[in-house]
Symmetry: C3
Subunit: 427 residues, 3 copies
């Protein structure tokens, strides 16, 4: 089960302090590149204008903790990187508990969870901890040390281009900006790493080229689009934003803005046959980089196939989103295969035309029972139904939907009929 390998890789990446920028992102990309030697790690300087946005300063964390009046070290970043508010500015000082509380963040409704909070676009400092922990804090003076630095550095991302037979591309995007959380987000980059490995292994047989990126969410996709959107608009035939693909509790789909692209139709088809009760979200439920890829004027055909969607599970954006109870090898395996099925469907989704007028004489080719009886017709029904729909205008996906079978049930049939020259793919 490939999910086991993916889970191990996620464990390996777990402790790194991913954020929009910084060492944690670079180290994550470096470890991904060990699996994907062709991964190109790019750097964009802080301050670069990207559409309506500006690439932020780079953030480095050396250490961060609080010393209680009793001398205990708490909220130690080195123990759990969620303790530090993302993009906290440096601070070194003493405060009373009441003063400190203005910079402490908890989730009262989930008292055991450390929340994940960031302040990318306003300079702040702060710590995140469980409500239970907060409730136990004694009165007195606390020492706070935040040894961070915000400076003009770079924003990094990884880009992998794989050449197929066609210049047209399938686009896969995932993000590497969240610290130690599992479904959102380590499931995304680890599953994409293994999908990319599979594509690299089959490079000679790919119909489409592949553009695969590992970026920080939002600012990363905006940055990437600002560099590549014209080329991508010409080339991209389909694609997926890949996140939250690691828990084993549900399958979900978030449409592109258009809602009827090939990515949407493939996603709905694949999920229907993997899990008929998959959650069918709308564009209004979106919340990741499809916001950029499908923005007016960008208009890429990008949908999302997920397990349990960001924002819809209790552990989301807290320390409870872990690699034990939430994300499992089984969950990752399901996420991997759903997207792989979708990519395979895109690869195979051609239009076929039957090469003879009327039904072919299957019998003379040994494809039909020679004795006609009350039931023999049923045996070859799928084959004859399929042929009857090969009009050169209906895609394999649409035929599968009309026949009410998974598209993958047709792959062998296509091969057999092609080998008998009874159908041919239309360019």
């Amino acid at each position: 089960m490939i999910g086991k390998k993916i889970h191990n890789f996620a464990r390996q990446l777990w402790p790194l302090n991913r954020s929009l920028t910084g060492d944690g992102v670079r180290e994550t990309l470096r470890q991904i590149a060990e699996h994907l030697p062709n991964l190109n790690i790019k750097a964009v300087p802080s301050g670069t204008q990207v559409f309506d946005w500006t690439v932020p300063k780079e953030w480095v964390v050396r250490k961060a903790y609080i010393i209680t009046p009793s001398g205990e070290k708490i909220c130690d970043f080195s123990e759990n990187n969620l303790h530090l508010l993302g993009y906290s500015v440096p601070f070194n000082g003493e405060l009373t508990l009441d003063e400190l509380k203005c910079n402490l963040y908890t989730l009262p409704e989930q008292p055991s969870a450390i929340p994940y909070i960031t302040s990318y676009y306003k300079e702040r400092w702060g710590f995140c901890l469980s409500q239970t922990h907060l409730d136990m804090l004694e009165d007195g003076v606390y020492k706070v040390l935040i040894d961070t630095e915000l400076f003009d550095g770079v924003l990094n991302y990884g880009e992998l281009l794989i050449k197929g037979k066609s210049q047209n591309e399938v686009f896969l995007s995932t993000y590497v900006c969240h610290p130690s959380m599992a479904n959102n987000e380590l499931s995304g980059p680890t599953v994409v790493t293994y999908l990319a490995k599979w594509l690299e292994e089959n490079i000679g047989e790919l119909e489409y080229s592949y553009r695969i990126i590992f970026i920080p969410e939002t600012i990363g996709s905006i940055t990437y689009l600002s560099q590549h959107h014209k080329e991508m608009k010409e080339k991209t035939v389909a694609g997926f934003n890949i996140t939250c693909v690691g828990d084993n509790r549900a399958y979900s789909y978030v449409p592109s803005r258009d809602g009827e692209t090939i990515s949407d139709n493939v996603a709905k088809h694949v999920l229907k046959w993997i899990d008929p009760s998959f959650v069918n979200y709308t564009w209004l439920d979106r919340g990741s980089d499809e916001r950029q890829y499908c923005a007016p004027g960008i208009d890429l055909p990008i949908a999302s196939i997920l397990r349990t969607k960001y924002g819809s599970y209790a552990e989301y954006h807290t320390s409870l989103d872990d690699l034990e109870k939430v994300v499992t090898a089984e969950g990752l395996d399901g996420g991997y295969w759903a997207i792989r099925r979708a990519i395979e469907a895109i690869e195979k989704n051609k239009k076929f035309k039957v090469t003879v007028y009327c039904e072919p004489q299957m019998g003379k080719r040994g494809l039909y029972p020679t004795l006609s009886s009350k039931t023999s017709g049923e045996k070859v029904k799928l084959m004859m139904d399929f042929i009857s729909l090969c009009d050169g205008k209906t895609s394999l996906l649409d035929i599968a939907n009309k026949l009410n079978v998974p598209i993958w049930d047709l792959y062998d049939l296509v091969e057999k009929l092609e080998s008998h020259s009874l159908i041919k793919a239309i360019e």
Copy 2:
């Protein structure tokens, strides 16, 4: 509450003997013109050919009553103008009760109601009275006096043209041919009078021009179309036939023949948000001047927004359709606001395009919370959803439907985003 003023105006117009033609129509138009000084009162001579029809003779009633064998004056037109069959020819004579009964009209199933009956296109005379009254009539000889006159005069109507920024027009039509009845019809011309006053008061801000007519039903709309249909076909972008907008019991919609014009879509949207249980009629339920405006070859985009529809309430076309129990200030207020909301929606229903690629950075404009947390995203969800749909191709109405909010909830948002130059209207 504007409904109170409209109700008072309806009381004032109540006693006038409206019909297809005659003094009652002229006096009604004159009193409307007191509110709308720019109203142009037109006259078309009897005998004028209007498409397949001929403008009828003008009808004047001086007096009309019956004297019973006991000398009692009954069915006196001066007491209730419904007593006289509409367009009755003159008559002066004596008849037995049995002879008289051939010219008496009642509603046996509504014994207390005087029915409203007309005979425009065949020369007849008659009286209308309650079944209860008829049942009390004694045997004997009755004297009948109908001092009316049918002569080559004119058919009158009122026309108000209001210039907006565009030559394109919104068309409002209502009718002034029914004697003393309230929902059908005094609610129509009185509500339209107040809508026209509001438009006149906002004349500098109107996107569209307005063509508003007060006509006799059927022959009036046919006459008006015979004069203006080519110009109207070029200019009319939307419009409503306005009748039965005064009772407080229901909201209703009758589609145009096309069924999918902007008038239809606005009407359905507005009514859905005012009263989700509004009655959704079909073209086959039509029964007023939309029959002409939407006739093949005319094809104007005219729908109807009503309270309780003509023909669908017990008091319809009887003396029971009054300004006390049926039409109320609340009812008129609801009718006025439904149509005003519809007109406002037509005025505001532009297509907007976001001015930047990808999502705008709202934070730097002070439009976004600076601290990202589990819930902060929800706060600006409507704004970001709206921006995500501003593709320059989707109208504000369609966006409101996609967002499942009333279009008027978006007016402020449009203004705010336009003021930040984040969206612009597409010509």
Copy 3:
């Protein structure tokens, strides 16, 4: 009741040994030609290449039976032509019961039925009998005689061309290749014979030309298409494959591949008004010559109107499909009228345009009550609704659907309005 005549004709054709080729087909066509003197009986030589297929050898049966060890003659073809496996090759020999059983066919689940089995495309011999009979056979040596011949002869079919006002054609196809079975298939050719008689009798009034063929199923339609498909693709506006139109248990519809042709829409309309609970099959339920007529590249607008569909009733393709319990005069009558209604609808299905702007003044033409009252409007509602939809773009069928009435309820109205020059048909 015409069904009675059709049933008698079916009884007459019953004993003939129809198959793909041979004397039974020729004699069937000859007897049909007694009703249809213009029927053209064609012959295509064995071995002719027809698209992907080859016209088979002609099959003649002189006698066929088995002699049991006790000397009893069983499975005698002269008693029931279903006993002989269709296209059996000659055989003369002795076998033990066990050897014989390899060539015996039964239906264990329907023990009293003789199954209908053929082996057109592989040379075999065999007998069909009831399971009950098989179970009674004694051990011992059986004598088998099959005096048949497969030789280079001809495949026959009948073609009837009827000229209407237009070169455009309605196509009717039925088949004559099944031996003694009633719903599938004698109901088809007998009903088509009587439909063709009706068309011939009305030849001066037909809008469309008619192409009617009596063919062996599959190989016959492929053969006919190989000769005529280009001409048919140009001319055919509608058509039906006619089979299983003789039992009185259900009405059914099988769509064309397109599913939205005029044939489909007429079929669904007619069946809805004849039997709202008609069975609505899909293209995947097809199973007769529509497989060829609607094949990709052929693409004719051919649907099927049936009573109980082939394959969906217990007696199908067995000796139980008879003219007593399954096919009845009532059943045939219903089948005849359903298709006749459909043909009439195709003939009448023009687009009409009202000749005046706005509603016509019906009163001056005596088409409208002169006294307007609360209810008088209802009386002419259908007429005014109909006129309101005569926009020159909506077909009579579509208007009937919008008005929710059977199309045949509009035929008189069309005639009346045409006679008053209020509507005219659009070319």
